[in-house]
Structure formats: C-alpha cells, structure tokens
Amino acid sequence: MATQRINILGSRTRPLGPVFPQPASILQTTAPWEGLDFIFPFTATRDQLAGSFSVPPFYVDTANLIIVWTTAATSLDVEWDFDYRAIGGNDTESYNQAGTQESVNDNDTAPSVTLERMELSIALTDGNFAAGDSVDFGLFRDQTDAGDTLTVAVILKELLFEYNDA
C-alpha cells in the first residue's frame, strides 16, 4: 500500500465569477515559466473553480485533498472550501442530484516569504469514494468566512487527490 497523488485539474476545470487563469510569469517575474495559474482575487464573495475527476482504479482509502497555492503576502490567512459528490456504478446513480455529498474547509496562513510553495491537506471521507467513481467538485476561496483575512489575490498552482492504493 502506497500513498499516491493525481492531478484533478484538467479539461473540465472551469473558473467562475472573478476567478481567472493567468500566465505564471506575470507574478513570477524572475522565473521563465509561462504555464497558467488560477487567480482568486480579493473580493467579499465565495469564489469557485469547478471541475471533475475519476477516482483511480486502485483507490483504497486515506482520501485527502491537496491544495498547492501561494500569494504575494507574507501574513494573514486564506479560507479554502471544497464541495463534492462522487457518482458511481453503471446505470445506477444520477449525476443530477441536489446538494453536495460533503463540504470540507480549512484555512492556511500565507507563506513566510513571497510566492513560496504552500501545501494544505484537507481530509475527505474515505467511504465516499470508490475506484472508478466520477467526482464533481467545486473549490472555493470563501471570502464570506472570517477565516479569510488576506486582502490580496491568492494563486492556485495545483489541486491534487491523495489516496492509498492496494
């Protein structure tokens, strides 16, 4: 049994409202990398990046969401929420269900030095997932929550699903 991670951003990733993709070089002015980051600007709302992924075939348990992020600030906190529903089977479960299966959240403090890599792990309920499930999700920067004290944009670099395999 080993711990695995898969990237859960991809072709179905969709920024909503004020969230937008931006070349990394705009903020990382020294580095030569031109890939896209997702920017969650300073607002007073709960701003979403939506998407979906497939649970890997050898999934067993110990499900965690890994948020890899950074910001230009060096103090204060960001509040991340993650809502999802896992849908499984073959001709047994509808994609069109009201509400979420689970909603989890946690806050993380800004890096000690500008634009350092930050990693936040949020535990998910193991039993909600089975190998091969389709998972629809929304990742939110919840700026309606008192836990989000930052007044600048937050940069999402990666979003990962971590689990133990067989």
């Binding site: 300073f42 607002t43 204060l76 007044t151």
Partner: protein, 81 residues
C-alpha cells in the same frame, strides 16, 4: 450614514491595496477604514453643499456639485494632498 456592503468595501479597499503596493493589510482593517471614510463623508456632506452654495452667486445643482467635488478630489489626492 450609509452602511456599505462587504462587496463595496472589498472593491474600494482592494483597489486601494493595489495602489499602496502592500499586501499584509487585514480585511477587518480595510473594511473599517473604508466605512470610516464613508461615515465621515456623510457627516459633512450637507455642510459641504451649503458651503458651495454660500460661495457662489448662482447655485450649482447637486449633480454639478458632485462632479466638481469628484475632480477636486482626483487632483488633490493625485498630487499627494
């Protein structure tokens, strides 16, 4: 006095933070500063209108007074006043 929504305070405050070039201002402080400006402004608004009326021969309309005030403030604060 007008109570600004969080969305309004974030819009005004976020623009100010960008102009200030700082990143470690707290949300609570930013909201409080914006609301304090709003409260103080509303407290003096009527007196300011009366002062303009007293200084002018032909009274300006409220809309005209707002425009004069807007351009005064842009020039004043862009010069570091």
């Amino acid at each position: 006095m007008a109570v600004l929504t969080d969305e309004q305070k974030a819009k005004i405050g976020g623009d100010a933070v960008k102009d200030m070039g700082v990143s470690n201002v707290t949300r609570a402080d930013l909201y409080a500063a914006v609301q304090a400006i709003e409260n103080d402004w509303e407290g003096h608004r009527a007196a300011l209108g009366a002062a303009i009326d007293a200084a002018t021969v032909v009274n300006f309309t409220n809309s005209q007074k707002k425009l004069i005030g807007k351009h005064w403030m842009r020039t004043k604060f862009s010069l570091g006043g």
